[in-house]
Symmetry: none
Subunit: 120 residues, 4 copies
């Protein structure tokens, strides 16, 4: 797989975000094993160390746990995952809404804009 990365954000954070989302969206199931570090490195076209760092970060976030000599597994605690989903949602909304408010956009303006974007 050929991948391209934004310049402004470190690759490892982009990958963290990406995998985290797959997990939050349940594209990978709780308890499921992730590909090995080396495989992911090939898949994403980066150095194994970079993947290692991604895994560290994901583990610290609690979405993944490493089992020595076996691999990395999506945490089985699915309530935790739904909680994270809620948390993520709230965080994104709060950040967005406060920013828009600070810039002086009205509620109607904002909501209209979003609806316009989300229309099929």
């Amino acid at each position: 797989m050929v991948e391209s990365y934004s310049n402004t954000q470190p690759i490892y954070l982009q990958l963290v975000q990406r995998i985290c989302r797959q997990i939050v969206r349940r594209e990978v199931q709780p308890g499921e094993k992730l590909p090995s570090v080396r495989d992911l490195a090939v898949q994403f076209g980066v150095n194994p160390n970079t993947i290692q760092r991604v895994n560290m970060e994901l583990e610290r976030m609690g979405v993944v746990e490493s089992r020595r000599g076996q691999g990395m597994f999506v945490t089985e605690d699915s309530t935790r995952l739904t909680l994270m989903r809620e948390h993520l949602k709230e965080e994104l909304i709060t950040k967005f809404a406060s920013e828009m408010k600070e810039l002086g956009y009205s509620e109607d303006e904002i909501i209209a804009g979003i609806q316009a974007f989300l229309l099929p």
Copy 2:
């Protein structure tokens, strides 16, 4: 003034964003003179080099113009400023909405969240 800066984004970009917003919100009026590089550096507690870079960026964006020997001035072209406001709005909304969509949140969920946040 004591300031704290996020670690992930360069200080100069944070300042660009900050000043840009003041202009968009018309806290600084079109045609108004910005403080000198030296003053801004003191005010924000950063190196004058950093302010130089901020000014360069702001000029490149077209929100300020430098008048030789006089200083930096907010552009007087106020239609340009309203355009920028629109552009900024659309950019932020698009980024936000596409991200939320990608994460699998429903339109209702998103709008309800925003309204909840914007309530008094």
Copy 3:
């Protein structure tokens, strides 16, 4: 049996510690037979290799002995076990006390903390 293991310490050492404690506390009596490698592997949910390693370690420490074709047995030398208990105690205390001292905690502070914890 479902078990969880700390990430920083090897599973086999955690098991060594665990079994060793059972012996020191006389939950398993001197001369008693330990379950077979296979059974322990099932019981702890680990690979039989890991149990082998645990047994090797326990034998090296002198708390169990293997009798060919019969299995692993807790050593019958009970003075050895009491000695081990003393040794373990001293080791743990020394490690703890020197660490606390190094961190600059006073004797009173330490003892008060322990008593507070050990209260009913």
Copy 4:
């Protein structure tokens, strides 16, 4: 400086612990600048990457903050540091006391042992 490292624990964790203790004990003052990554690497005889990782960890713990292009600084929030000291104390005591209790040592036995060790 020549340093030796325990085999069982990663070097970077040993350094984290070591520096963290210096900070908690106020051997380095709040707000003080740590030596540069490269200098520390030389001082401890390890690779700069290892120091980098140490700093990451220290920053995540909140005892240190990195200022871009300037260096790593001990956090100025000294109440946070005292809080950490208390937290660390409690953690160490709890871990120790529960372990001793689990092993069946009496309170008197434990306290006597500690006092014996701490005697001049």
